[in-house]
Symmetry: C2
Subunit: 503 residues, 2 copies
């Protein structure tokens, strides 16, 4: 996440202390100054496949720089991964344990805009043990009726690496917590019960005959699918993760915020949950299927403006919820300026009044678009301390931690080894179009045997390299001599042939 | 608009008087009781192609039943059009002046659910004279630099015909008013000025050099297109129309509300603006291009829930913003019920608390979905008096008068005589799929010569007949013996070959 939080980093106070002095560079985050690498023997992520593993609520203080455990970096490797000059592409070692599902992964640090790589990643197989049976009867631990899900997460941090690091360690555990109640329900082909007993042994009330005095529009029961329960579990897990960050930000170093792009594979379906400006696409038989959309001040303009309109106190008298095509000058008072409000997609002229001279809540275009002149993404986790520059006005009320979840049914199509789901942080997509990614998929995978398990890592590396470029002409350049991405770049390549099919 | 407003019609008070007693049928609107038809010599709509015609602000009281002037109905014809038993399909006469743009039109009254046909329609060519020159210099009236737009409007009334009738007479004039400032700008190929002088003769300030002290994210000017100015003009016209209804509802008979589906053709582009549950599709070379989407409690659930969450006072302690799959029973307190809030698309379980026993803000499914148990559409004009049944809680705050506007560039494709834009009220779409409409387009138009101007009216008639069915087995039945639509049905068929091309 490069250049996505401006000016406001100085206000990222920790533990309720006074704001630190503003750093010289507005893009330099308030990151821990120690450059010592975390020892590799301290694993980033405890084993997730254990019902008895530490609950999601527990957080250890973890101030030092870290990279994903699955990279198996030695202290020297960690230093190379942290080197802005060399920008060496990192992948899991060929010799080590492969990532689940033959997943390919590659990453590279930014060109110097933040001290460390603020992207984080996680790839796990997670076992969910049911909390109790739906009928209320106590479960036998040996029954083996739990569920497994595959999990991939990309977290693009801004204004510090703490939130991304914490999310990469804990978000999948929140998802597991949410799924615990659903273990039996999801494995039962009948429709989910609408109502569950509050205590084990109490009778359920999913029977429609309990209804009395139905009203015309509410007499029927809505059909709720298994799929929508998983979507709801993921949505709530994002919220619980965000709330945990809010609770623990003072005791621990949870600096900044992060975008979160998460994939869950469960019972034949792929759930892609996105909160931020990372992106997921499926490349299937050369065809591109978008699996996410980006949440930015431009794409969420109307949501932000509506909130500012309904809750003007959130604007603190400093901002106007109206959008103008440029900043208005005081001498233009009384003239007529183009504007649009929360209801409009088109533009119209309005007479400029005094309050229109306030700074617009949403301004700028493309990568320069900002909420309250500060942040360039509108969904994600963390950012609880984020304030408007030179002000105490909080920005968090305008940010949403809720992802949009898209579902892809893996069983509806016979996938070949070249069909992949590609996840990338904005470092990839800023300089690479969907079509260019699809072309790289075709070019790289056709150079490897279909059963060569290293092909997906090679593809991830090629995508990262293609977005980074090579150092030339005072910068990182692409073959067409355009600037490569100076941002952190992280890419997962997930083959769609199913777990183990091509490993 | 059939069955779209329940129970609440009794609360549609007029002129601030006490609510009338609730009618026996909840679907019978509070319509004027006089069944006398308006004399045909009293035109519904004054000629629009006149800069000096009455301004949009003027409204005559108009309590009696009327049908679109272009139908040229005699008193006897008007009685037949008002006959629920015969349900004769109405179209402009073959012998009379054709509708602009060789437009086809047909309509039929409902099967008895409301006293009169609550749909209304308008088809006009509207001349816009510029209000003044952009440069501030007074305009010569003889300069002839005005603009013409073609206009079609379908208005589907509910809980009375007043709002639909008023909108059909006045909305295009509000659009003309909004366009008056844009006459010169839209004809100038250079980008629109961002700022206009407040008074004629004052210098404009569209010059970027006026900017001082640019801030990082607001230093640039946004590009605003001519197209987005027209979109903004249409959006604001809807709002002004709605505000006029609010102002004049007491002095005049503006009962109920209406959905509005409007098409504007201006300078090569077709603008389709929809607020409600009517629908527009283009059928082009057999392909279907959706030109609108419906706004209902289901499609706008999250907007409604967010408003209820942010402004709980609008729920009056009677409703909960949470959605449940069915009404909760008091005895279920403490159990866990599926729910979703304004942030969720999936479902999850929550423990039932006392306030969850309130009636859900949004409930029901499909055509039975309702806001506050009352209204089944969430956008449109009017409804300023609409209250929740047995309560004084207003529903209007949850309804939006803003349309979604989609733009189709007529110049980007060489259209053949069989390419059409079809507009229909929900009476058509409730029983007819987009594909069935496309099949009817093909079947009917291929039976006529391409230059036969009557083919588009024949197509509109076929669509209305196909949705109405024939009286059989105690109801109106389609050929497959399913029930036909008992609602008012109105259809415009607009050939895309351009004005006059096929007339």
């Amino acid at each position: 996440m490069l250049n996505r939080v401006r000016s406001a980093v100085a206000h990222l106070v920790s533990s309720g202390g006074a704001p630190p002095p503003r750093p010289k560079s507005p893009d330099l985050p308030n990151a821990p100054s120690a450059q010592t690498a975390a020892p590799p023997e301290a694993p980033r992520s405890p084993p997730a496949r254990a019902g008895s593993s530490a609950p999601a609520k527990t957080v250890e203080a973890r101030a030092s720089f870290s990279r994903p455990t699955f990279l198996q970096l030695s202290p020297g490797g960690l230093r190379r991964a942290d080197d802005h000059a060399g920008r060496a592409v990192q992948s899991p070692p060929d010799t080590g344990r492969r990532l689940p599902w033959s997943t390919g992964y590659a990453e590279v640090i930014n060109a110097g805009k933040s001290r460390h790589n603020e992207d984080q990643a996680c790839c796990e197989v997670v076992y969910v043990e049911g909390r109790r049976s739906v009928s209320g009867a106590p479960r036998e631990p040996s029954q083996g009726q739990g569920l497994c899900f595959y999990y991939w997460g990309l977290f693009d941090g801004h204004a510090g690496g703490g939130a991304a690091e914490m999310a990469s360690r804990l978000l999948h555990r929140h998802i597991r917590e949410q799924l615990k109640d659903l273990v039996e329900i999801l494995q039962d082909p009948s429709p989910p019960p609408l109502c569950l007993p509050s205590t084990p042994g109490a009778p359920g009330s999913s029977d429609a005959s309990h209804l009395v005095g139905p009203q015309s529009c509410c007499s029927s029961q809505k059909e709720v699918t298994h799929e929508s329960l998983v979507v709801g579990a993921i949505e709530n897990a994002f919220q619980f993760m965000d709330e945990q960050m809010a609770r623990e930000r003072r005791g621990h170093q949870v600096e900044g915020g992060c975008c979160a792009l998460v994939v869950v594979y469960l019972l034949g379906k792929v759930y892609v949950a996105n909160a931020g400006d990372s992106r997921a696409i499926i490349v299937r038989n050369g065809e591109i299927i978008p699996m996410s959309r980006e949440f930015t001040p431009e794409t969420e303009r109307q949501r932000l403006q509506l909130l500012g309109f309904l809750k003007p106190e959130l604007l603190g008298g400093e901002f106007t919820h109206l959008e103008f095509p440029r900043r208005i000058q005081p001498k233009e008072l009384g003239q007529r300026m183009l504007y649009r409000d929360q209801n409009m997609t088109g533009w119209a002229y309005k007479k400029i009044e005094l309050e229109d001279l306030r700074f617009p809540l949403v301004c700028g275009e493309g990568k320069k678009a900002r909420v309250m002149a500060t942040i360039g993404v509108t969904r994600g986790l963390g950012d609880h301390n984020l304030k408007v520059c030179s002000s105490t006005l909080p920005i968090k009320p305008f940010l949403s931690c809720f992802p949009e979840v898209r579902v892809y049914d893996l069983t509806q199509y016979e996938h070949c080894p070249d069909d992949v789901l590609v996840l990338g942080t904005d470092g990839l997509w800023d300089v690479t179009s969907d079509c260019e990614v699809a072309a790289t998929v075709d070019r790289v995978l056709s150079a490897y045997e279909p059963n060569d398990a290293s092909r997906y890592t090679a593809l991830a590396q090629a995508l990262v390299l293609g977005a980074r470029g090579i150092p030339r002409d005072r910068g990182w350049r692409l073959p067409n001599n355009k600037l490569g991405s100076g941002d952190d770049i992280s890419v997962f390549v997930i083959p769609l042939g199913g777990p183990g099919s091509y490993s």
